[in-house]
């Protein structure tokens, strides 16, 4: 028995959650006025801002433009103060570039790009505080920002992490502390309504026998997050609508 357990015998994780509980999620749409759409999300202590510009004319080399679809440009960056030790470069390093590509992959799966040929959509995400599940928070924030920008989506794309505690019990939404303690972390981005997986990533190898239950837990996490995001979107609409007299104030 090691001194550090991911899940204690009484069934609580180090921060007091149970295995299948998400961290507290708070989110807000329309936090900036300059971009076409923006959102802020907090998953536990992980805090992420997302801003969406577009669709607009393709900038830079026109050769990139596509005749049948919009191109999606993602940029991931982490504030230098977002981690315990200050980061040297907020963006452009290998890890950030990889994150940008993964983010693009998840978003491309849901944006109806075919509606905007010859145009471009920019998604900028900035991590203010990293406390585990950074990628997941970025995907969720981007979804909200895209909705705020009014870009047509097939459905919500949500991401969630899951891991395996004590080699047996799957647990969802991994915090930084738990990531460091060990155990493989599985990140899944999915379209929860159609149950399609658009991205899946693992930090470590783990035995095939465990994969189904961990994956199932991660997908359940995605669905739960979708419900929360959906509620936030509806609330936002009510707020925006009521100020313009569009919806009746409750």
């Amino acid at each position: 028995m090691s001194r550090k357990e991911l899940l204690s015998k009484i069934g609580l994780r180090a921060d007091g959650r149970r295995a299948q509980e998400l961290r507290r999620i708070r989110c807000k749409l329309g936090v900036f006025t300059e971009p076409d759409g923006s959102a802020y999300i907090e998953q536990g202590l992980t805090k992420v801002l997302a801003a969406v510009y577009g669709p607009h004319q393709v900038r830079g080399g026109r050769s990139k433009a596509q005749y049948d679809a919009a191109i999606v440009n993602c940029q991931f960056s982490m504030a230098v103060f977002s981690t315990g030790e200050r980061k040297r470069r907020p963006r452009g390093d290998r890890k950030s570039t990889e994150m940008s590509i993964h983010l693009k992959q998840a978003l491309m799966a849901t944006i109806k790009t075919e509606l905007y040929p010859w145009s471009q959509i920019d998604v900028y995400v900035e991590v203010l505080h990293a406390d585990g599940g950074v990628y997941a928070a970025c995907v969720n924030a981007s979804t909200l920002a895209l909705i705020d920008a009014g870009i047509p989506l097939k459905e919500y794309v949500c991401a969630c992490t899951a891991s395996l505690a004590n080699n047996d019990i799957p647990m969802v939404d991994i915090s930084y502390q738990e990531e460091v303690l060990g155990g493989p972390t599985l990140t899944v981005a999915a379209l929860p309504m159609s149950e399609k997986i658009v991205l899946m990533e693992m930090t470590q190898r783990f035995h095939l026998d465990h994969l189904p239950k961990v994956l199932k837990e991660a997908l359940r996490g995605c669905k739960d997050i979708k419900v929360i995001l959906d509620e936030a979107v509806r609330n936002h609409l009510v707020n925006v609508g009521s100020s313009s007299g569009w919806v009746k104030n409750k």
Partner: protein, 953 residues
């Protein structure tokens, strides 16, 4: 609800980092009371039907414990008397942080439903959580959390009464202020009605210092002082090892010094106990002294007899600080602080000579390495007849001995059952009965082979397979066959019991077997790794019965070159279970020509070639004096001690087992480069060989230790015609120079380190004894996967898990080996009880005041003291040549002697064999022989010397 914990921590590089963590507060946590209608009910162990019977609190009550109670008084908590206890999560976490061993024991108590312990998660409870204040120390904060939880309980369940037990006076005072009922553990235990001498088990911790007593030991440095000292290089960290022969000497092995640091005397040892991690200060070089080489025993009687120790210390000083000694001086130092205690429960007896009615007694541990322990008991008269278990609580400066408390009695001194128990406990051998859960994993009887089984396995029942084992063996795990096939080739098969078929990964049986790791053989008892149904029935490859096996089949030519290796799971029927002797007779009996005899002959021939080839590569032939004790089958008393007989067939079986192990190692490593379980035997450092090389030099042989091959050759050459046993003794010495062979996960070491030095093979593992070794089960599982007969499971492929497992296996193996030896030693003593016997023996080494004697017939090694206590030795010790001389008689290492054996039963715990010299005759020292043969020998010798003397004249 949600809050955050903020704390600042220093990282490895030395930067200060701010850490922020979430801390969720919940409202769905259960308080543990079924009568509560606020909380959501869950399972609870608390019961209103059970009562703690305390005179102090004359009503049903529930106990809430402070951390210090659990850390110090675990022995009390393990008693059934105390129940209905609420363990707060704050306490549980603190216990885990402070001592993992206590935490495990606490968990065992919590898991036992009869004890009615309940864990309440107060730190995540919405109403019990209190934030830590800015300047508050963590201990004070924890105390406050505990008191808050107590108050919450009092308000939450007004019907029930709660008693808060703590030994921290300040916490108790604060609790009383807040109107919490509280008392100390001592008060509480004293007031229990059915006390049952529970008081004896209270740990005594003196928190206050008696000022009038004289300090016998220097103070230890504080933790920060030690840390600073080590950082600055003034102090050194190392594990303390007590000398087995001299209670005032010990050694600390420290990085950067080739020799272990010698610490001597009370002030040098400074309350360190064997195994402790200590900080030592090394003296300046001119103050270094040599190890004393004398044997000293602690004989003090009463508790405060310091004079006796002073006397012995002076004696020691005389020996260590002679002028001549300077050149042999070793780095010397003294213990200045203890970094980590390695205290464990000790087995032993009470010192017999305490006055009647005394409250304080001295406890003498069975293992000489440990000091005596002072305990308080009210049942001394009874305990004096018993072997008991005691733990150390504390060792204050003013006390000559550590203070401890009694844990339990094992049984009457001298009983075989008690002694076995002691051996098992002292070597940490798990030996409780198999639990119901484990037994439920066993297959149901009658066990039959189904069609499905047959379809999955290769049917080898038509082959003439037989097994060869020592007599009386019931756990037969290997069988062999050999037959001629086309092209003049031979097919050789080694069939190993398929234990992994019955023990499925992750089952309770598997977990238990992994923890036991090996079957332990005592002289009259076997502690099985797996239940008897498997070990001596279903897995045992008994003659004439169908059994599952894992077969390794080679195609070989007549020169024992392997052409093809095949592994498969099989069904076999052993034709006969033979003993080594039977097999040998079958081979030698020319009239027998049946297939078994032929196959044995073929095997034997192949084995000889294999052995020859192995020896050419540099494999070592080592020896150790192994004996077998014959027991009277009714009384279970030892009736004879004999050296194990070896036949050619022993070596035959061994060769094929080695071959199977090597083949398996190659196969599993190829398929699992990262997580194969292998066995390595590291080359010993050159310094280990020193005694061997020295002994060889005195005899005029050069022992080369450059490589295993050189060593093997030089030992083969070291033969003296007039002393045939000498070579064996050299080999015994060589065995003692070796390192331990260990299991490891292949992913954790470099390829070069896989080498097995003793066998001279690059790869080795254990495959052939899955009934009695857990390592083999793992190897079976790996092999089964690589031939597609089974599936993997997560832990099998995790090199870190495998590595952890290996550590346990290595530890248990070592302990099992030691336990076996201890058991043999005890029974040998039992055999010599009331006997006097003259025996031929050899001098193994020459010491300053003694000769180390080896008696081959009994495989015994013992000390022959050359000087009586307090008297000066008549012998002259020559350190250079390692000889002892008196007049004409000179003792060299390896000289033959005759000694008389007798058992000294004065010390009932440590009966020891006493040797007296019979031959050669030394006037005023040796004693006359007992039997005729020896008498004649002595006489002829005397005539010879007389003749010599007269010639000289």
């Amino acid at each position: 609800m949600f809050t955050t914990k903020v704390f600042i921590r220093k990282n490895k590089i030395g930067n200060f980092l701010k850490n922020i963590r979430e801390h969720y507060l919940r409202d769905d946590l259960f308080c543990g009371f079924t009568s509560c209608n606020v909380c959501k009910p869950e399972d609870t162990a608390l019961s209103s039907n059970i009562e703690n019977k305390s005179g102090l609190f004359n009503y049903p009550h529930y106990l809430i414990l402070d951390t210090n109670i659990i850390l110090d008084q675990m022995d009390i908590l393990e008693e059934d008397v105390i129940c209905n206890v609420i363990i707060l999560h704050t306490v549980l976490k603190e216990v885990k942080h402070r001592s993992l061993a206590i935490y495990k024991r606490l968990n065992a108590v919590i898991d036992n439903p009869n004890r009615h312990f309940f864990v309440f998660i107060n730190d995540h409870h919405r109403e019990c959580y209190v934030p830590q204040e800015d300047t508050e120390l963590i201990n004070d904060y924890n105390d406050r959390c505990i008191r808050t939880a107590c108050l919450w309980y009092i308000n939450h369940i007004p019907d029930a009464k709660f008693v808060f037990i703590t030994d921290d006076a300040r916490n108790r005072a604060l609790a009383e202020e807040e109107n919490i009922t509280t008392c100390s553990i001592e008060q509480y235990v004293r007031s229990i009605k059915e006390n049952n001498l529970l008081e004896d088990k209270l740990a005594k911790r003196d928190y206050h210092v008696e000022s009038d007593t004289q300090d016998l030991f220097p103070a230890h440095l504080t933790v920060t002082q030690v840390q600073e000292g080590i950082k600055e290089g003034r102090l050194h960290q190392g594990t303390y090892r007590a000398s087995t022969s001299n209670f005032l000497e010990g050694f600390v092995s420290v990085d950067g010094y080739e020799d272990a640091i010698l610490v001597q005397g009370r002030s040098g040892q400074n309350r360190a106990i064997d195994g402790d991690l200590v900080a030592v200060e090394i003296f300046k070089e001119q103050d270094w002294i040599a190890p004393s080489e004398i044997i000293l025993e602690d004989e003090s009687r009463v508790d405060t007899a310091v004079e006796e120790v002073l006397l012995k210390e002076n004696e020691l000083k005389e020996y260590s600080t002679g002028k001549k000694k300077k050149e042999k001086a070793k780095p010397t130092g003294c213990v200045v602080g203890i970094i980590r205690r390695k205290w464990r429960p000790f087995c032993g007896i009470l010192q017999q000579d305490a006055p009647e009615g005394a409250l304080y007694h001295l406890f003498v541990p069975a293992d000489k390495k440990f000091p005596k322990i002072r305990i308080e008991t009210r049942q001394a008269e009874f305990l004096k007849t018993q072997k008991i278990v005691v733990v150390i609580d504390d060792w204050p400066r003013y006390s000559r001995y550590p203070a401890g408390h009694f844990v339990r009695a094992l049984g009457k001194i001298g009983d075989q059952a008690t002694e076995n128990e002691v051996v098992l406990l002292e070597h940490d051998v798990p030996h409780s009965k198999f639990s119901e859960e484990v037994l439920s994993c066993l297959p149901k009887l009658p066990w039959i082979i189904t069609e499905e089984d047959v379809a999955k396995r290769t049917d080898l029942r038509h082959l003439d397979i037989c097994s060869v084992d020592p007599p009386g063996c019931t756990d037969i795990d290997d069988a062999l066959h050999c037959r001629e096939i086309e092209g003049g080739m031979l097919e050789v098969g080694v069939h190993i019991a398929d234990v992994s078929h019955f023990i499925r990964p992750g089952s309770a049986l598997d977990v238990e077997a992994a923890s036991r790791a090996t079957t332990v053989y005592l002289v009259d008892k076997r502690i099985d790794m797996v239940p008897a149904l498997l070990s001596s029935n279903l897995c045992s490859l008994r003659g004439g019965e169908d059994r599952f096996a894992f077969s390794c089949v080679w195609e070989m030519d007549k020169n024992a070159n392997i052409l093809k290796t095949k592994f498969h799971k099989s069904i076999i029927r052993s034709r006969k279970a033979m003993t080594y002797e039977e097999a040998q007779l079958t081979i030698d009996d020319k009239s027998r020509n049946d297939s078994i005899a032929q196959s044995l002959r073929n095997l034997n021939n192949l084995a000889k070639i294999l052995k020859q080839r192995r020896l050419e590569k540099g494999a070592l032939v080592l020896a150790s004096p192994e004996v077998k004790i014959r027991m009277d089958s009714e009384t279970m008393d030892p009736i004879d001690v004999e050296v194990k007989k070896l036949f050619e067939t022993n070596s035959m079986v061994e060769e094929f087992m080695l071959l199977a192990n090597i083949s398996t190692a190659e196969k599993t490593l190829k398929d699992f480069p990262d997580c194969a379980m292998l066995r390595r035997h590291p080359e010993p450092p050159k310094i280990n060989y020193e005694p061997l090389v020295k002994a060889g030099k005195h005899l005029g042989f050069e022992i080369k230790t450059g490589s295993n091959k050189e060593l093997a050759i030089s030992m083969d050459n070291a033969v003296k015609e007039d002393n045939p046993y000498m070579n064996t003794m050299l080999r015994i010495l060589a065995t003692r120079c070796m390192m331990q062979a260990v299991y490891f996960a292949s992913g954790m070491f470099q390829k070069e380190d896989y080498y097995h030095y003793g066998l001279a093979v690059p790869l080795y593992t254990h495959f052939t004894s899955p009934i009695r070794r857990y390592a083999d089960i793992i190897v079976h599982r790996l092999l089964a996967v690589s031939i597609g007969a089974d599936v993997t499971y997560p832990d099998l492929l995790d090199k870190h898990k495998t590595s952890d497992l290996c550590q346990n296996l290595n530890y248990r193996n070592r302990m099992a080996q030691l336990a076996g030896r201890a058991s043999v030693a005890f029974n040998t003593h039992l055999f010599f009880r009331g006997k006097l016997q003259d025996e031929e023996a050899y001098i193994l080494s020459v010491r300053k005041n003694a000769l180390q004697i080896l008696i081959p017939r009994y495989g015994l090694e013992s000390t022959l003291y050359l000087s009586q206590k307090g008297k000066k030795s008549i012998f002259e010790y020559n350190e250079e040549d390692q000889t002892q001389k008196y007049e004409d008689v000179v003792f060299h290492a390896f000289d033959p002697v005759i000694v008389r054996l007798a058992l000294d039963s004065n010390n009932i715990q440590r009966e020891k064999l006493v040797l007296q010299l019979v031959f050669p005759v030394v006037k005023g020292f040796s004693i006359p022989p007992l039997n005729e043969e020896h008498k004649r020998k002595v006489e002829t010798d005397q005539k010879k010397t007389k003749a010599k003397k007269s010639k000289k004249k």
